[in-house]
Structures are given as C-alpha cells and as structure tokens.
Symmetry: C2
Subunit: 337 residues, 2 copies
C-alpha cells in the first residue's frame, strides 16, 4: 500500500505552499487565495486521496458531517417528531448527524442558527415548517444546500418536500364512494392552508370522476378544531337530505363529529361513515370504532428531505409524497343497503 | 481607539511563533504545544483583546456558540418539546444556539453525535431522557461540560435536573386532604420509574402528616395507560369502603378513571374527586370537567439545564424542580358533606 499522502505532497502537486493548502482545506482561504488556486488545491487533494485531520479523525472516532434542520416550532409540534426521525435516520444511514434548531419563530434566532450552521460547514440545511405552508427561504441559508420540508419555497430556489394533499383527499373520498356512498359531505379546515385547498380539490375530483354533481351545501367550513367538527356535522345532519358519509378535513374534526353523532344516538359506520385526515397518533385511542383516515407521511417526507440535502445535483423541484388511506372501521355501506 | 491587536502582537507578548498562536487559539495545539505555553498564549490574547476570525465573525454575522442537546427519543416524545423550548430560550438569551440530536436510542448514533459535537467545540452537552429515569453519562461526553436533563446521573459526575416527583405527589394529595377527603386512593404507574416511587412517596407522606393510617387496599398498581385507569378505579369502587377521592399517577390513568366513572353514572367531582399528574397538553381537552393535576415543569427544567451547561463552575448536584398543582374543576368536598 502506498504511503499516506501528506500536506506537502498536495502543495507540490498544486504548485502552492503548504500554508495555502492548509488555508484552502480548512475552508478559510476566502480573500487569501484565488478561487482558481483553491480549486487546484482541492483537485490535487482529491487526486492524491489526501485527508485533512478532521476527515481522518472522522473515520477513527465517528465524527460525522452535519445536516442542519431549522424549524419554526418543530420540537413542540405533535407532527414534527416524525419528520425529524425520518430525516435523522436517512442522515445517519449516510453517516451524517442531523442537528435541529427550533427557532420558535424568532427571526434573530433563525438568522443566528443559520449563520452558526454555515460557520460549522453543515452539509445542507433542511428548512422545516410545523404545518404545511408556503414560505420564503432566508437568503443566508442559500449559501449552502437548502431543502424545504413540509413547505413549498415560493421562489422556487430550493427543492421542497410536501404531502400530496390532493391525492389524499381524492383517495379518502374514493374510499367512501367504493363503499357505495353517493351523498358525501366534507367538513374543511382553515381554507388559507394548502392542506385545506388540496384536500377539498381531491374530494371534488373524486366526486366529479364518479359523475356526482357538486352540492355546495355538503361542503362545510371549519377551523380544524374538535368544536368545529361538532357544529358542522350538526349542520349536515339537519339538511333536508343529509349525507350518508362525511370526509372530515382532519382527525380532530372527525373526533368532534363522532361525539356529536354519539350525542344524537347515531352510530359510526352503521348510520353514517366517516373518514379523517392526518392519522394523528395522540387522538387514535379516542375513536370508537377506529377511524379510517389518511396518513401524513412525515417520516418519509423527512427521509426525502435529508436525501435531497445530501444530493447537491437535485433540481429545485416540488416533491409530493403520497398520503395513504389507513383503512380501519369507520366506513361501511350506506344505511339501508 | 487603539488599533486592533493582530496575531503577531499575541505571539510577541507570549514569546512564541505566530504558528503556535494559531494552533492554540484554533484549539488544535494538543500534543504540539505544552499546556503552559497554551495558557500563556490564551492569557496574552485575553489581555490584548485579540479575537480569532471566528469570534470576530460572530459579532458581525450572528454566529454563536453551540450547546448540544442529545436525547434518546427526544423529538418524538410529547413532553420533549417543552424541555427543548426551555433550553433553547435560555441558550438564546445567552447568545448560544441549541442544537438537538435525537438518537432514537441508537448507541452508534449517540457516539457519533457526541464526537461530532465535541469536534465542533460545543460549549456543553445536555444529555436528555424522554421519561424521568436514572442513566450513565457516556464517557465521551465528559470531555466537555455535560448536564443530565430529566435524568439522574447514577455516577454523580454531572449536574442533573429532574422533576420533584415527591413534592408533586405530596401536593396532589394535599389538595384532596384540603378539600376534606380522608379516604384517598392512589392508582400508580410503572413502579420501576422514579416518577412512580416519588409520587407514591409524596402521597404517603401527605397522608401520614394528616394522621391518616396507610391502607394498602387503596394503593392500586397500574402501568400508566388509559386501560389501567379504567380497571383500577373499578377495583377501588368495588371495595367495601371505597375512597371518596383518587390521586392518579398520570393524566392518562385519570382519563381512564373519568370514563369508567361516567360509565357507572358517577360524577367528578360530585361523587368522587380526581387529581392527575403530568398536565399533558394533548389530553387536556378530553376531561369534562377540567382535571386538577400536577404540572411537569419541563420548560423550567430545560432552562435550568441550559444555564448549568453554561456554568462551568456548577457542581455535579441534583437539581429538583418543583411540580406545581394546577387547580381546575375535578376536586370538591366529599359526597354528603
């Protein structure tokens, strides 16, 4: 085996001094060596297989490169854990450590977090939203590889990984159509959210494909709370021709619907079928019978975002991740069939 | 204003070469300069007010020092968010960025996370447990300042910040005694946990202080689940002389108790008073009437841990953080009074 190359070898191959090699490979040559020289040094180092002390140490001690994850309120959201887990597992499989900063929406902290990550030469930054939305990536973050997670970069400068809300809403509604329902209500969540517009679009597409004409009375507004589920299901049941099935815009709304139905002496799915959205872990036990719902694929989204953070060549595209229907016990045939 | 000191000035003052100054101040002098020399360089730099490029850059760009937080399953636990938030806010107030790694219990990842944090010269590491327990701090972490959060270091080498379970259990029971109850049951959680032994100890101390003799029949085992609350409250009600109040070892158990009471047509607090423990956010809405419970002070614990990580002089003591009773509507006078 050839002897390990030294800094001297790299300097000789690149035609520069050892001091310049040291500056370039430690990343502190800005303003002190031209980019041409710096590139020549990096090429020579790569060709010779020269490793800096840090890289050599990495193999010996387990020191890894870092992927940064910056989130607005990531750590305190019930969903964020799965995104972090997915990104962490992918990073670790590729021998990187994921380090998370929860900014709590503080702009100064966000800037410091990004600057600090950049100064520590993170491999990339995953910029993460607590709930699916559109956002602008901070300019500083664009100095490294940046990926938006659960968020779409409005300027299209970074790859974005978001749940496929439309297909989720479509398949939720399909599950009710497949069970034989033709009069299907929907209780939406805050209409300013991509989740709300996407899920509604999927609902309408499924009905349209099935040749069912749109009835605006069956589409009820809501705000994603338990309370709005109680109120909206009441409104639907009081219609002259009430629905036999309801697609609820999230699980919390569905739980309100369950409780209001129970208070009226109606059974799920015997009297009315219900499908939710989110498959929210902490609510799962409270549904009797278990709720058929659509899963937000947070773990897979985190995995995809970390993979994109490691792939410098990936274009700034929007990656939609499929939201599968989880079939449980809240969907049955329409009453009387 | 005096001209800014240069590395040359530090070298001259310390009587060493600029290369030695660079090695020492970049932290890479180990084995290449004696500790005496290194200290002389650091003293000269401090005296002259010399700043390394990184430090100078920090003031200009907002780059901060890092406190690392390593957790077993921190990001996916419902409680962890508040610990991270508390530590984050304290770190940020002191111009540090908290970076979190969730190891998911993977020893290799934990080691890589600690090694990577050390190689990036974090100011300290907060070693965090998802649920309150005893643990051994990994040897590598002891190379920097390490603080245990929600965990007690069994070897006593690091400061530990844990909830004061005993006082919490004492005050929960006191709330029932103060309302006039003398026959008070307890449904415990997994007895292997410090939370279980501490809360039970507090319960027994409060009864003993009130001159009420211990009745083992009133202390029921459980495992912290909703289901065990249902079962244990049933057992207590079936006693020849049932309790008029029950201290539940956690909120989940209390929710089971509520539902079992409701199924028997009994009311809280009219027929029986209930106190919980944890003040778990996601369960709060499901209690009708609102549950009087004991708060786990996670935010304050996180704050204390970060402050300790920044205080190199703090001894390796156990810091108990008070768990306050949150008075809501589930405690009333004993029936018939």
């Amino acid at each position: 085996m050839a002897q390990r190359p030294t800094m001297h070898d790299v300097a000789a191959a690149a035609g520069v001094s050892q001091a310049v090699v040291s500056l370039v490979l430690s990343g502190s040559s800005a303003g002190r060596a031209s980019e041409t020289t710096a590139q020549r040094v990096r090429d020579a180092a790569a060709e010779l297989g020269y490793r800096t002390n840090l890289q050599a140490k990495s193999l010996k001690t387990g020191v890894t490169e870092i992927i940064g994850l910056v989130g607005d309120e990531v750590a305190t959201s019930p969903f964020s854990g799965m995104m972090i887990k997915g990104a962490q597992d992918r990073a670790w499989q590729d021998q990187h450590t994921l380090m998370t900063v929860d900014t709590g929406g503080d702009d100064g902290l966000e800037r410091a977090a990004i600057d600090t990550m950049l100064s520590h030469r993170v491999r990339g930054i995953i910029y993460t939203a607590m709930y699916h939305r559109e956002l602008t990536v901070p300019a500083a973050a664009l100095d490294t590889r940046v990926v938006c997670l659960n968020a779409r970069d409005v300027d299209g400068r970074a790859p974005s990984v978001i749940p496929d809300e439309v297909t989720g809403g479509y398949e939720a509604t399909r599950a009710l159509l497949d069970a034989g329902h033709t009069r299907i209500g929907m209780i939406n969540i805050h209409t300013s959210l991509p989740a709300a517009t996407g899920r509604l679009e999927g609902y309408e597409r499924a009905l349209s494909e099935a040749g069912i004409s749109r009835d605006p009375e069956l589409i009820r507004p809501g705000d994603g709370t338990h309370r709005s589920g109680v109120r909206a299901i009441g409104d639907l049941l009081d219609l002259p021709s009430p629905p036999t099935a309801v697609f609820c815009g999230n699980d919390r709304t569905a739980l309100g619907a369950y409780q209001a139905l129970s208070a009226r002496g109606l059974e799920v799915p015997g009297d009315i079928s219900i499908v939710g959205f989110d498959d929210q872990d902490v609510l799962r036990d409270f549904f009797q019978p278990a709720l058929t719902t659509v899963q937000l694929p947070f773990t897979e989204m985190g995995d995809r975002a970390a993979a994109l953070a490691l792939d410098a060549a990936a274009p700034a595209e929007v990656h939609l991740v499929h939201c599968p229907v989880i079939h449980r016990r809240s969907v049955g045939p329409p009453k009387g069939r």
